[in-house]
């Protein structure tokens, strides 16, 4: 299973590096979201800085939608999805590989967005370990949920509109917990983030487990 996951993740990341859609579209989209939030709330950093954690994670959430849709778009051209089914790969390995590739792209994006909230919103980046841990656990959860619901939506003609409807309500706990953890870290009280980090870890483990089991049947039915 892990061997198949590495194979699929390598393939997806190689395609993304070559197409540069993540670099040319998802990244600029996330930066645009940050800028628009800044415009909506006004230039006052006293307002923006306390909101920076929430705005950061909303931008990550919206970018995850694009990354997941892109992850399945590469399987829809030339019936590559059928090719993937015919490949003999372990469906759980396919799930882990695709989720891993999405997570890797999101982590790179989050590094850029972290600099963005510091520059645009004046957020003081303290509690680095908590910030990193929240990003790691939260991103794994988002990637797992996105990959799981992505395969459901990818076989349907309404996939572009269906995926956000399926995805956003489910990842509300990630938004809440990751924002709370980041707020605690940015406020200089990283010790108060512990419970929220636990929520993120449990969420990620739960959806990785569900995805590992459910992805195969969903891939066949899509």
């Amino acid at each position: 299973m892990l061997r198949d996951a590495v194979l699929v993740a390598g393939k997806d990341l190689r395609i993304e590096l070559r197409s540069r859609i993540g670099l040319n579209q998802v990244g600029p989209f996330a930066i645009a979201v940050l800028l628009l939030f800044g415009l909506a709330l006004g230039p006052d950093r006293a307002v923006l800085a306390p909101a920076s954690a929430g705005l950061f994670w909303v931008a990550v959430l919206l970018s995850t939608l694009l990354a997941v849709q892109r992850s399945y778009a590469i399987e829809s051209a030339d019936a590559a999805r059928d090719g993937l089914r015919l490949s003999g790969l372990d469906p759980a390995g396919i799930f882990l590989g695709k989720a891993g590739a999405v997570a890797a792209q999101l982590l790179v994006l989050e590094a850029g967005l972290t600099v963005g909230v510091a520059l645009l919103y004046g957020a003081h980046l303290s509690g680095g370990l908590v910030l990193i841990a929240a990003c790691a656990a939260g991103t794994l959860g988002l990637a797992a949920v996105g990959t799981l619901y992505g395969v459901v939506a990818s076989g349907l003609r309404t996939r572009e509109t269906l995926l956000p409807l399926l995805f956003l309500p489910v990842v509300a706990p990630v938004l809440l917990a990751a924002t709370k953890a980041w707020n605690a870290a940015l406020a200089g009280t990283p010790g108060r983030a512990g419970g929220w980090l636990d929520v993120l870890v449990v969420f990620a483990v739960l959806y990785i487990a569900i995805g590992t089991v459910a992805f195969g049947p969903l891939l066949e039915d899509g």
């Binding site: 051209a77 090719g83 015919l86």
Partner: protein, 267 residues
């Protein structure tokens, strides 16, 4: 010889529409079989069922001795399919696509470069992204994947389509070589003369079932100037004429006609 493929009253559905409506057939290992039938007869659906891409709703289906429902993943690893689409990733190079397919199937990577060279992808051409290849080159790349994976059963849907004369000849040589290697091939083709020269026998499909071939005069009338069904070279001892039992009840999903398997080498 053990059958490579055995279907008995197999029904496959798209929603409630029967794509296969009780198809019964048997193909021995090492046979090269040409599926014939008009558009919508169920040829592509039959290939997809055998590849495990379409689920068997009812009936029995075994491929390479394994149940297609219970062991679908195993079957897929042993089956190579060439469809109307390439199943390739446009952003990856030809070589990367072949390598990915070979690794996924856990086949030997030593087969990659010979397969690429066989289909004209020696040198820099192997490094060309599939998206920049012509349709014919993409077809050749798909064939290279098929060869490099080294599977025991090939399911080819219009394999000659999109290939130039040289490519078609190469494909025919490949199919002839498959027979010698004991590999089973089931393919569709509307290029009947070429197909008949390759195949050990023909199976006719209509309405999602295996049927008796149409009378030559009827067939000729339907096909206009196209050549009627003629005897194929009766080279395969593993291709005896067979008729399955028509006694089974018709599927509720399909039309109520008797299910028969076409005899081999029907003139």
């Amino acid at each position: 010889m053990a059958p490579a493929v055995r279907l008995h009253e197999a029904v496959a559905l798209a929603g409630r529409f029967p794509l296969l409506a009780g198809a019964s057939l048997e193909v021995s290992e090492g046979e090269v079989v040409h599926l014939r039938g008009p558009n919508g007869a169920g040829k592509t659906s039959l290939l997809k069922v055998l590849a495990g891409l379409l689920a068997v709703h009812s009936g029995e289906a075994t491929v390479l001795g394994r149940d297609l429902v219970a062991d679908r993943r195993w079957v897929r690893r042993e089956v190579g399919m060439l469809g109307h689409q390439s199943f390739l990733y446009e952003e990856l190079t030809v070589e990367e696509n072949v390598r990915f397919a070979v690794r996924a199937a856990r086949s030997s990577e030593a087969a990659i470069h010979p397969a690429l060279e066989q289909f004209g992808f020696g040198g820099r051409l192997a490094s060309m992204p599939v998206g920049r290849c012509s349709a014919g080159q993409q077809r050749r790349a798909s064939l290279a994947v098929l060869v490099a994976r080294g599977t025991r059963l090939w399911l080819l849907d219009e394999p000659h389509a999109g290939l130039d004369q040289q490519g078609r000849d190469l494909l025919d040589q490949l199919l002839a070589g498959s027979r010698a290697a004991g590999r089973t091939v089931i393919f569709t083709s509307h290029e009947h003369e070429r197909a008949e020269a390759i195949a050990d026998r023909m199976i006719h499909l209509a309405g999602g079932r295996v049927v008796e071939p149409p009378e030559p005069s009827v067939q000729a009338a339907r096909q206009g100037a196209a050549a009627p069904a003629s005897p194929t070279s009766p080279t395969s001892p593993a291709a005896p004429a067979r008729l399955s039992s028509p006694g089974s009840p018709a599927s509720p999903a399909g039309p109520a006609t008797a299910v028969t398997e076409a005899p081999a080498h029907v003139a």
